[in-house]
């Protein structure tokens, strides 16, 4: 987004012309680490927003509790934003994701709370309840995506129109399923996907996840280096590799530490102690939340989607088609099928988001996911996905989702009225894209 690093080379006032031709210290640093300045700018903007809201709210924002909640609130939109990146990279748009999320949430709710119990005769708490409900939701997402994708790719109706129709159709379907009635409560295991004290993995498991992630980061850096060595390609300097690894691991372990610093509320601790026959000691029992399950799901989706975009043939084709559809066609790529597959992925991701959102509500309502399409598109665009097609990153879109959610929940903390919230979010979207346009022209 904002390019905070290279606007002002260090000691810019004293820089003479001769030095200007060389790289500044910042420039050398960026070249050595091969970091994306746009991504750094986004992280910078996010930190500015966080610190700003923290100060304005009198120290309420950067607390383990708020950050933990923020991570859970972001998951659903972040997951869909990763799919929206592919859709927009291919020069399409999907306006239907919020409604698709709604109809799938409804189907999953009805399946586990009514259909499987009354019609099939499962007992409450049967593990198959949530498994079948989730599988049915994912399958439905795949089908809806395939259906819309087919109309877009093979019948050549513009994606804007197809998904605008979808926005209305699927929302209507969500209402029709129960004639507008809300379905609750949901299966207790299914609810874990919504987070909360029980929907988190606890301190020990969180540390294990963190350490495994750090090992994976180190392995990837080393593997990349040895691969490049094998072909005698230019390598990053060792200090740059080390720095990258250390920063990444610090960020991972820091996030785990924050999640582990947020204890269960006293009431739930007491209930838990009673159920398990533990006597609560004098000072109270400290049980940490740890990483929430929806956050883990979002991270997993992020990793899988990054892998798909960077390391698979399909991902390469998505970007090539976005860059030059005609060239992709001439290279022998089946562009229609790739288009259809992108919408199928989008449908599946909408299903995962539907599971998280409805589990968090512990209910399926026909309004689930209303206006989410706009948040998802905004997250992808703020995250650097170009509406002209051909460029965008999964990581950026997830950061974009986090940024949007930070703004929104920050404004709630500050007690800003909801109409004003909309105004701010809308303005931020436009400003972000404008800054991005300026950045692209300069580079």
């Amino acid at each position: 987004m904002t390019d905070t690093t290279s606007n002002q080379p260090v000691g810019s006032t004293a820089t003479d012309k001769a030095r200007a031709s060389e790289l500044s210290a910042v420039g050398r640093f960026l070249k050595a680490t091969e970091l994306d300045t746009r991504m750094l700018g986004m992280v910078g903007a996010l930190l500015v927003i966080w610190v700003g809201i923290h100060i304005l709210s009198g120290g309420l924002f950067l607390t383990p509790r708020n950050l933990w909640n923020l991570s859970v609130q972001t998951s659903s939109v972040a997951i869909m934003a990763t799919g929206m990146v592919l859709v927009i990279v291919m020069r399409n748009i999907d306006l239907s994701v919020g409604s698709v999320e709604g109809v799938i949430g409804m189907i999953m709710g009805v399946a586990q709370a009514e259909f499987l119990i009354r019609v099939v005769g499962f007992q409450l708490g049967n593990p198959w309840l949530w498994i079948i409900a989730l599988a049915a939701g994912v399958a439905l997402g795949l089908l809806i995506g395939a259906f819309q994708g087919f109309i877009i790719a093979y019948m050549e109706v513009p994606a804007f129109i197809v998904t605008l129709g979808g926005l209305l159709v699927w929302r209507g379907m969500a209402w029709l399923i129960t004639s507008g009635r809300t379905v609750a409560p949901l299966d207790t295991t299914f609810q874990l996907m919504g987070g909360g004290p029980r929907g988190s993995i606890g301190a020990t498991a969180s540390w294990i996840v963190g350490v495994v992630a750090c090992v994976a980061v180190a392995f990837m850096l080393l593997n990349g280096r040895s691969q490049r060595k094998r072909f005698h390609f230019p390598l990053r300097p060792v200090w740059a590799e080390t720095l990258l690894g250390v920063v990444a691991c610090a960020a991972i372990l820091g996030a785990v530490w924050i999640a582990n610093s947020y204890p269960w509320p006293i009431g739930i601790v007491r209930q838990y102690a009673q159920q398990n026959g533990i006597t609560v000691p004098e000072g109270g029992l400290y049980i940490a939340h740890g990483i929430a399950i929806p956050v883990l799901m979002a991270v997993a989706v992020g990793i899988i989607m990054t892998f798909i975009t960077k390391r698979t043939r399909f991902g390469r084709y998505v970007f090539a088609i976005g860059g030059n559809p005609e060239a992709a066609e001439l290279a022998g790529i089946n562009t229609r099928w790739v288009t259809m597959k992108v919408f199928m992925i989008m449908g599946v991701l909408a299903a995962v988001s539907a599971a998280i959102s409805s589990a968090r509500l512990n209910a399926s309502t026909n309004a689930l996911g209303t206006l989410d399409e706009l948040l998802v598109i905004a997250a992808a665009v703020i995250g650097g996905t170009s509406l002209a097609g051909g460029s965008g990153t999964v990581m950026g879109a997830m950061l974009g989702a986090l940024l949007m959610q930070s703004l929104q929940s920050g404004m709630v903390l500050l007690g800003i009225d909801s109409p004003l919230q909309s105004i701010v979010v809308g303005a931020v979207l436009v400003i972000a894209v404008w800054l991005d346009t300026v950045y692209r022209k300069r580079v």
Binding site: Q227, R228, R230, F231, F233, F307, K310, R311, T312, R313, R316, F319, A320, I321, G322, G323, N324, E326, A327, A328, E329, L330, A331, G332, I333, G390, S391
Partner: protein, 274 residues
């Protein structure tokens, strides 16, 4: 990984008299306009055939039929004497037909290696993209074409016109093409790069590759081509050895459709009232 070493199809075994490519009576219409009308053209191994004509004469369209970008309405294509069915770019590549398009047809947002292997990526044993191996191959082939080229990490939109051109050429020769179609290959190039392309054409020719060259530059054509084929209004005016006709006569074919004595007239030749 093996497919980059092995030729795209069987080696050339046909008798020397068999053309590499024989397009017979090709026609295609867009709406009511006959862009190519009953055109026939052939190409022998190690030969450069130049296609000449005004803008809209049908040369690019004819060539796009061969490369699979357009589907012909009528006519046959023979590759090495055997009838070939080419209905999309993948088919054409299977027959070893590679094309360098006038627009270059590069995906601007990805790097040189990704463009070279677009549609034919090298994969690792895990079924993932082998970017390192692709970059290595890219460095090899680009080193041959444009030794000073170093910008392998940048999207091709950031490259200069000549660099982009060399990426497009590298893509065509990377997979051991037997038939190369070059549509205005030097249009975006400076004099030095144009000379490089000329050298490359001669080298490929000596390897037994047949080349269709579409060009506006008649000097280029006389330097590189063995034969010229002139088109006008979608029809072939005539075909001639470059040794049998003068540049002025070829210009006459392009502008007036007048077939000189050294050329074999086609259906589009001006009928002179006897």
């Amino acid at each position: 990984m093996a497919d980059k070493i092995a030729p795209a199809t069987a080696p050339i075994t046909a008798a020397p008299g068999t053309p590499l490519i024989d397009m017979r009576n090709i026609s295609i219409a867009f709406g009511g306009i006959r862009a190519v009308d009953d055109a026939s053209i052939d190409l022998f191994p190690g030969e450069v055939v130049a296609l000449l004509g005004h803008n809209g004469a049908g040369k690019s369209t004819l060539i796009k039929i061969l490369s699979g970008a357009y589907k012909r309405d009528a006519g046959q294509i023979f590759v090495n004497g055997e009838e070939a069915s080419i209905s999309n770019p993948r088919d054409a590549k299977k027959y070893g037909i590679e094309t360098i398009y006038q627009t270059l047809a590069l995906a601007d947002n990805v790097d040189a290696a990704a463009n070279l292997f677009l549609g034919r990526e090298l994969m690792t044993g895990w079924g993932t993209l082998d970017d390192v191996a692709m970059e290595a191959e890219a460095r090899k082939v680009m080193g041959r074409l444009n030794p000073r080229f170093q910008r392998f990490k940048e999207p091709v939109i950031k490259l200069s016109g000549g660099q982009r051109q060399s990426v497009a050429i590298a893509r065509a020769i990377l997979f051991n093409a037997r038939i190369l179609i070059m549509d205005e290959p030097t249009a975006a190039l400076g004099p030095q790069e144009t000379a490089q392309v000329g050298e490359l054409v001669k080298q490929l020719k000596s390897d037994g590759i047949g080349i269709f060259l579409i060009s506006h530059d008649i000097h280029d054509v006389f330097e590189l081509a063995d034969r010229v084929c002139v088109m006008k209004n979608g029809q072939v005016v005539g075909t001639a050895r470059t040794t049998d006709v003068t540049q002025d006569e070829v210009l006459g074919m392009i502008i007036l459709g007048k077939c000189p004595p050294g050329a074999i007239p086609g259906p589009g030749a001006l009928k002179i009232a006897a």
